[in-house]
């Protein structure tokens, strides 16, 4: 998100007012108020050739006040609009969770759950083409941690820039990625690495550090903490753009891990409106693949009912509509098995760094 794409305060307020105006105009004509949104499901995302990521398609959904639930959503949207305006005026910001609690005072406009307030904030982003940073809303979600020989500058609470080397200036838990990783807050200064490896689980992240994998293979390790937060995806995108370093993704072998990769490389369904900022189309899925379960004879678990449903859904997800993914998903369905990253420990603690990763990296031309 370069500065040129960021909107001025007035632009943000104006685009929020357009939402309120759509409602008001309709009521003046004697029609129920409403709000028009793109459909936010896998059926309405498509590959954008120009951007190289998945974006929302043309399907729209109308939220109008003919049903109680939708009418409440409209009222809440207006309350959020008012709240954002107030924050913009007073130069404050709040977390999504704080907004959820503040809504307690909105009477009939209060949220039923935090999920609801998060979704509505996203709806507003999509409709107004603003970002939640424009709305002065922050996530409380945990950013990633990074360990590796890269140097960044981060502007601290006092507004001073501090330089941090993510290998030498951090403890065992690594450098914590802040929620805002834009230029105004974070600069990528220097690096001496060959690639970046994003890792799903904390256990594997710690294993690789203990085995000294980052230095040996000259890479930076990023712990994704499950489904990666926006800032995690954004910083990977910036590393890819600014340093032109390859990004490889190392996860468990199960349908949910496939989705983690898809959100990094192709764009997440929930945030398809900003895929071009968040998705790193150059990212590569390293493993664990369904093939690996067989090739390395890994200990595996049976797929649960939810796993099976998730796999089935992925078959019709446009992001997985490539020969390789279809093959992997079908193979997994056939096996009826899934495996964890840590199942590699079957062959000893060093197996992952001595054998598995070198072999896999060699396979994609990143051998060391």
């Amino acid at each position: 998100m370069s500065d040129s794409t960021r909107k001025s305060r007035q632009q943000v307020v104006d685009s929020l007012h357009q939402v309120a105006a759509e409602m008001h105009n309709r009521m003046q004509r004697g029609d129920p108020p409403r709000m028009t949104l793109p459909v936010r499901s896998k059926s309405n995302i498509s590959f954008d050739n120009r951007l190289g990521v998945f974006k929302y398609g043309k399907s729209k959904t109308v939220r109008d006040a003919t049903k109680l639930g939708s009418a409440r959503q409209l009222l809440r949207t207006l309350h959020i609009t008012e709240f954002i305006e107030e924050m913009i005026d007073s130069g404050k910001s709040s977390t999504l969770r704080e907004m959820y609690y503040i809504s307690e005072g909105w009477g009939n406009g209060k949220f039923g759950s935090q999920n609801e307030s998060n979704n509505l904030a996203e709806d507003l982003e999509i409709v107004t083409k603003c970002l939640r940073e424009d709305f002065k809303l922050r996530p409380e979600e945990d950013g990633a941690r990074i360990i590796g020989n890269i140097t960044v500058e981060e502007r601290n609470r006092r507004g001073e820039w501090m330089t941090i080397n993510c290998r030498d200036d951090v403890g065992d838990s690594g450098y914590g990625v802040p929620y805002n990783v834009e230029e105004e807050k974070l600069r990528l200064v220097d690096e001496d690495i060959d690639f970046v490896m994003a890792i799903e689980t904390g256990g594997m992240f710690d294993r690789l550090i203990e085995n000294g994998f980052d230095e040996e293979s000259r890479c930076a390790l990023i712990h994704l903490k499950g489904q990666p937060a926006r800032s995690t995806r954004r910083i990977m995108r910036r590393i890819s753009d600014e340093w032109k370093k390859p990004i490889v993704v190392f996860t468990d072998c199960d349908p949910w891990s496939f989705r983690i990769f898809a959100s990094i490389a192709y764009g997440a369904i929930k945030t398809a409106h900003i895929s071009e900022y968040l998705a790193t189309k150059e990212a590569t899925y390293l493993g664990i693949t369904a093939d690996d379960i067989l090739a390395y004879d890994l200990p595996s678990d049976d797929l649960s009912k939810q796993d099976i449903n998730a796999l089935e859904a992925e078959l019709s997800d446009p992001r997985f509509n490539t020969g390789w993914w279809q093959e992997q998903i079908k193979l997994m369905q056939e096996l009826g098995k899934k495996a964890e990253q840590q199942s590699l420990a079957k062959y000893g603690l060093d197996f992952v760094t001595d054998t598995y990763l070198p072999e896999k990296l060699d396979g994609i031309g990143l051998g060391y």
Partner: protein, 723 residues
């Protein structure tokens, strides 16, 4: 072995010691002469399983059951509202002490031995009426079981009203002589250990036995809970203690009705249920001189005309002496029984619970939102009168994730075992519950959901699948009647669910246009700095319907069941309607408060014509019913005539209303003829006649037994929840 004979507990207390406290010795002797008596212990040992003492958990249930059934029967006969207390105390290991106490008539001193010490076996052939006491072997079995398993005596305290003191006595059984052994007999004033008052009549039994108290679906608790449902006139309590004396289970079901079940009459057998052997025996024992009078006097449902017809078809002369009828002639008579049209047997031998009381019974045991009950008219299968009652409760505290609870009863006795093999269950499973709003995986079987269904079969002859008497055996007519009753309560449920969902929808719409929409308008105008828009046209567009809401309430001061109907016109056009309401019309109720007038359309259906309702306006209609008690009426059906739909009311089905009116006219005609005549036989004959006459005009079946509409007959399938 002799056990093949039908085992029947001859309601010993009633037969041997009447409620008046005087033993009807001649009757008692008469009964015992008809009974075959066999050695008790021999019998007991061989038949433990169907006497209900085969397992330790079941033994205590059976003992409670025998004792409570006796109490209920005795109270019913003596016209006393029963208060029954059950106490169970674990004494050691697998042993426990059971105490039951009632406020019944008590047993006279001299009858105690017989009631508690003898097995009475035999068939009571001529007595055909509905009784609880068709199960097990009675309280004697309990005394016996106690003695066999613990070697102890059963302590009895009995007080009859006419004595000044109570009899205290310990009882055992002499298994060789099949006799009770009395010991420690004394007389004393009986003071209630709970209240400290002197007891004027009642019975208390304290006995030790090898048994185990268990909780759950098959427990004493469940048995008493079920018993209380079908005996809303009884107050029953249960306390269970462990070895240390702390309470482990407790239940108390207070009576919800002061109406005792009516005393049932014995009836003569109906020709449709007679077997050849029985007929031959009756012929042999008959004192009648002529066959015509034999048929008339020994059977129910046989009019003089029918008797003549039977004999003509069987080619037996009317003047023949019954004793001289040969076997092949008897066969011909049996065949003729099936071809001649006969009147139904009289139905006063049955004692239905009646739907209002079922509702009360269910509501005292189960907390629910909705109850729909049906008492079907009595019906006949193979000459045996029977009657089906069904109750369905829904919502409230009932759990929604498992199969529904099925409460089965035969002649007011709970059936707790062998649910799957029972006709009552099978009839329930055969209904397509999905179409009535309950989940039913696979389209048949026991439905799932927050519901419980009660099925009561009242009959002079309940046929069980086995001697254990826990499952009713297949019978097409009974099956059909249960199915029909289920469909009725099902429709009640469906209406209720439809109504609740409509009500919910309407409530949401009101909230939407009255609260949320004005806030949207206000907030958006504030944000934009614009004028607030006029919302009236927006509201009309959002609602675009006429809404009807009815509220039932209880007017404490006037003792009226009030119904308040509000109609809102949220359309862009003026509307005119006639509103019709179903109300529980009966001889005891009346439309006491009705400022809007209107008129009666049919039994239990009142109509009001409304003035034109302009767009955006509403009107209120109110009426009050007297003769009900609080909570009796909790679901109303509202219909309308007019164009367009009303959310919250059903369009009147005029064709069904016509049918209902015809049926009512017919019934009135039958009733008129009946009331003119005194003799029941001729009166039924006349009714038959008059119906035949009527039928030529109204083209209805001429068989009176087929269609006499009962007071409960309902119209256009909306019955079952109108109380």
């Amino acid at each position: 072995m002799r056990v093949r004979a039908t085992i029947s507990r001859p309601r010993s207390i009633r037969e041997l010691g009447g409620p008046d406290g005087v033993i009807r010795m001649n009757e008692a002797e008469e009964i015992s002469s008809k009974q075959k008596q066999i050695s008790v212990s021999e019998f007991f040992e061989k038949n433990k399983h169907f006497l209900g003492f085969d397992t330790l958990p079941r033994a205590v249930i059976t003992a409670v059951k025998e004792s409570v059934d006796n109490s209920l029967d005795a109270c019913e006969e003596a016209r006393i509202l029963p208060d029954i207390r059950v106490e169970i105390r674990r004494t050691k290991g697998d042993e426990l002490e059971l105490i039951t106490q009632d406020n019944g008539p008590g047993i006279p001193r001299d009858a105690i031995e017989n009631v508690f010490g003898k097995f009475l076996l035999g068939s009571r052939f001529h007595a055909i009426r509905q009784t609880r006491g068709q199960q097990g072997i009675g309280i004697t079995g309990v005394v016996m079981y106690s003695q066999l398993t613990t070697g102890s005596k059963t302590h009895v305290v009995s007080k009859i009203k006419s004595d000044s003191s109570a009899v205290y006595v310990d009882l055992g059984v002499d298994t060789k002589k099949n006799k009770a052994i009395k010991s420690g007999e004394r007389r004393d004033i009986w003071i209630d250990d709970k209240t400290g008052n002197e007891i004027s009549h009642g019975l208390r039994i304290r006995t030790q036995m090898k048994a185990k108290y268990q909780r759950g679906r098959k427990s004493v608790y469940q048995y008493l809970r079920m018993t209380s449902i079908v005996n809303p006139h009884a107050s029953i309590s249960l306390v269970v203690y462990d070895k240390e004396g702390s309470v482990v289970e407790e239940g108390s079901w207070i009576r919800t009705s002061n109406k005792l079940p009516r005393v049932v009459e014995e009836i003569k057998p109906h020709p449709h249920g007679i077997q050849l052997g029985t007929l031959q025996r009756m012929l042999r024992e008959a004192n009648d001189r002529r066959m015509t009078s034999f048929l008339k006097h020994n059977f129910s449902g046989v009019s003089p005309r029918a008797a003549k017809e039977i004999l003509a078809i069987a080619e037996v002369e009317e003047g023949r002496t019954p004793k001289r009828i040969k076997a092949d002639e008897a066969k011909m008579i049996i065949a003729a029984f099936q071809t001649v049209k006969l009147l139904k047997p009289p139905m006063d031998c049955l004692s239905p619970i009646e739907d209002l009381l079922i509702k009360k019974g269910l509501s005292k045991a189960i907390d629910s939102r909705f109850a729909s009950t049906v008492t079907r008219s009595p019906s006949v299968s193979q000459g045996n009168p029977f009657q089906i009652e069904v109750g369905l409760v829904f919502g409230g505290d009932l759990t929604s994730d498992g199969p529904i609870e099925i409460l089965r009863f035969a002649n007011r006795v709970p059936l707790m075992y062998q649910q799957g093999g029972c006709l009552l269950t099978k009839a329930l499973e055969a209904v397509n519950w999905k179409s009535y709003g309950l989940e039913q995986p696979g389209g048949s079987g026991i439905p799932k959901g927050p519901a419980a269904v009660l099925i009561h079969l009242a009959s002079t002859n309940v046929q069980f699948t086995s001697e254990a008497k826990e499952a009713v055996s297949y019978n097409e007519e009974v099956f059909d009647e249960i199915r029909k009753a289920m469909l009725e309560v099902g429709r009640g449920l469906k209406n209720h669910l439809k109504k609740s969902s409509q009500r919910k929808k309407a409530k949401e719409k009101f909230e939407l246009v009255n609260i949320i929409l004005p806030e949207i308008s206000k907030k958006s105008s504030e944000l934009l700095g614009r004028e607030e828009p006029d919302l009236a046209p927006v509201i009309t567009q959002i609602m675009n319907a006429v809404f009807l809401e009815e509220v039932l309430s209880w007017d404490k001061e006037r003792r009226l069941s009030m119904c308040t109907i509000t109609i809102h016109n949220y359309t862009a056009r003026a509307r005119a309607y006639t509103i019709l309401a179903k109300w529980p019309e009966s001889s005891g109720t009346s439309m006491e408060f009705n400022p809007r007038g209107g008129r009666k359309e049919a039994r239990g259906l009142w109509a009001w014509r409304l003035d034109t309702l302009d767009p955006g306006t509403s009107t209120v209609l109110e009426f009050g019913i007297s003769g009900l008690t609080k909570g009796d009426w909790n679901e109303a059906d509202i219909f309308f005539r007019g164009n367009g739909e009303i959310i919250g009311a059903t369009k009147m089905d005029e064709a069904l209303l016509d049918e209902q009116r015809k049926a009512e006219a017919l019934e009135a005609a039958v009733e008129e003829v009946r009331s003119k005549d005194v003799s029941s036989h001729t009166n039924e004959m006349r009714a038959e006649q008059s119906v035949s006459d009527l039928s030529t005009e109204s083209s209805v079946s001429s068989d009176v037994t087929e269609f006499v509409p009962s007071a409960d007959t309902d119209w256009f399938g909306m019955e079952g929840d109108d109380q």
